[in-house]
């Protein structure tokens, strides 16, 4: 009887131990295989992200070099031709007649307008101010010109105190350009306020306006829309800069916050 009791006890303890061991080993195998799969997926994801960023970078770089080429050609070739035409135009000696004088004045005026427009296009395609004086000056200059041309009240509060040049400033400048153009075209705003703040690790750009702007949800919808090419460009540049872009509405204004990591 005693021996039978010992046998049952042994059988029971062995049974519990075996079941427990089997279950725990099953569990460990599960966790290890899942971890491996997860690591592989993360590696694949990182590779995809890297490839996507390289593609975006290549697209942005080629776009910038193309802009520069067009800007140079406009400035150096077309600009030079127009300037030379203007000189020739000035040398024309007119005979008597009010009608001819009127045409001459109109022609000269159009030629000057053309030269100005070509210069403006050339400057907007390639910002020399950005290259020479940095992002803050370029944004300030662009905001001033934008306000002058569009009759929108643009105010800025830019952080000159902590400013230090960062990599790919041209992309940040393009984002600001595109956003202001969008506000002008779609939001019917009358006031825009633009601020920048530099910290050790981040540049924060904030744009607020009193027009009919975008919320984050609407932005997400539009950026996958075929028509939303500008927004897609903005998003690509933000991705390229590893930054963050937030759209929000806090009554009475719409806000666009851009966070760009520094280094």
């Amino acid at each position: 009887m005693k021996l039978a009791n010992v046998d049952i006890r042994l059988f029971l303890v062995a049974g519990i131990a075996v079941m427990l061991l089997l279950f725990i080993s099953f569990l460990l195998i599960f966790i290890f295989t899942q971890r491996k799969k997860l690591q592989y997926q993360h590696a694949m994801q990182a590779l995809n992200d890297q490839q996507r960023n390289q593609l975006i970078e290549a697209a942005i770089r080629s776009e910038e070099s193309e802009r520069q080429r067009i800007a140079d050609e406009l400035h150096d070739e077309v600009g030079a031709i127009l300037a030379s035409s203007k000189l020739h135009f000035h040398s024309i000696k007119l005979g008597a007649g009010e009608y001819n004088q009127c045409l001459y004045d109109k022609g000269r005026e159009l030629l000057e307008d053309g030269i100005k427009k070509v210069r403006n296009i050339s400057h907007s395609l390639h910002s020399a101010i950005l290259e020479e004086f940095g992002l803050n000056e370029a944004i300030k200059h662009f905001a001033g010109k934008f306000a002058h041309e569009s009759l929108i009240e643009v105010t800025t509060r830019l952080d000159f105190k902590h400013y230090s040049p960062i990599k790919n400033e041209i992309s940040i400048y393009r984002i600001v350009q595109e956003l202001l153009q969008n506000i002008l075209t779609h939001a019917c705003a009358t006031k825009i306020h633009l601020t920048s703040d530099y910290s050790d690790s981040e540049l924060t750009l904030k744009i607020s306006h009193n027009g009919n702007g975008l919320t984050q949800q609407r932005f997400e919808e539009l950026r996958f829309n075929k028509k939303g090419l500008g927004l897609k460009n903005i998003q690509n540049r933000v991705l390229f800069l590893k930054g963050q872009l937030n759209f929000s509405f806090q009554s009475p204004d719409y806000h666009i916050d851009i966070y760009i990591p520094i280094n």
């Binding site: 009887m1 039978a4 009791n5 049952i8 006890r9 059988f11 029971l12 049974g15 519990i16 079941m19 427990l20 089997l22 279950f23 099953f26 569990l27 195998i29 599960f30 966790i31 295989t33 899942q34 971890r35 799969k37 997860l38 997926q41």
Partner: protein
């Protein structure tokens, strides 16, 4: 007398207990009532974490088991006070085993995993057939003397089958963002509980006949595994909420 080794925090509670009670006896009381208080852990998580539809059977299990276990422990505690016909809690263990099986099998079926899907739906039917045959011809569901070892062990091995199927499918399918999902915690807790207790359930009646004291002590192993089971369920509820 309260021994000096007992921490101050426990002393006020000890005033409610008889003065000659020892630390081992206090631990034994805690363990004896673990089938009730352990369930309060996931139940308290339910108060502030709303659960998805998928967890409904487990939520129902917690409530169902809490009621049954309160009854089980009260019957056991007031055995001498209650009339003879009402002072056995064995049928409640049987009832809990049946309820646990059906609730957890519906939880696994709801997970909609493709592996052995039809067979998994067939298992509850087979369990019903087993219940009819076992309690129709072999055992009495309301047996005063003993709980049904056969029922409890069949319930445990069937649930273990579901648990292993769950992990097999998870190993084969593509991993999502996180391995440790809410259902992972619940299934792991259940797996540990049934893996430890299968042999206890299987041999419990035999042990109560030949080694009563060992059987009583062995139930502590069940109670400890039950505490862990409830902790895992609580973790699952917490993750899902």
């Amino acid at each position: 007398m309260i021994s000096p080794e007992i921490p101050h925090r426990i002393r006020p509670i000890l005033h409610l207990l008889p003065s000659n009670i020892s630390m081992v006896q206090i631990l034994q009381i805690i363990l004896d009532w673990s089938e009730v208080w352990a369930l309060l852990i996931p139940a308290s998580v339910l108060l502030y974490k709303k659960q998805p539809v998928l967890h409904r059977p487990v939520v129902f299990y917690v409530r169902f088991a809490l009621i049954i276990n309160i009854l089980i422990d009260f019957i056991w505690k007031f055995k001498k006070v209650l009339p003879y016909q009402l002072n056995s809690n064995n049928w409640l263990y049987n009832l809990e085993a049946v309820g646990t099986f059906f609730l957890f099998s519906s939880f696994f079926i709801q997970l909609d995993q493709p592996f052995l899907a039809k067979f998994k739906k067939l298992v509850p039917l087979l369990f019903v057939v087993f219940l009819f045959i076992n309690f129709g011809f072999n055992e009495n569901f309301f047996d005063y003397q003993k709980l049904s070892s056969r029922l409890l062990s069949v319930q445990a091995i069937s649930l273990l089958f579901y648990v292993l199927c769950y992990f097999l499918v998870k190993v084969l399918e593509d991993v999502e963002v996180d391995i440790f999902t809410s259902d992972f915690w619940i299934v792991t807790g259940l797996g540990l509980y049934v893996a430890i207790n299968f042999f206890i359930f299987l041999l419990y009646n035999e042990l109560t006949i030949h080694m009563e004291n060992f059987a009583i002590n062995l139930w502590n192993v069940h109670n400890i595994s039950y505490i862990f089971f409830n902790l895992f369920i609580a973790k699952g509820f917490y993750e899902a909420g």
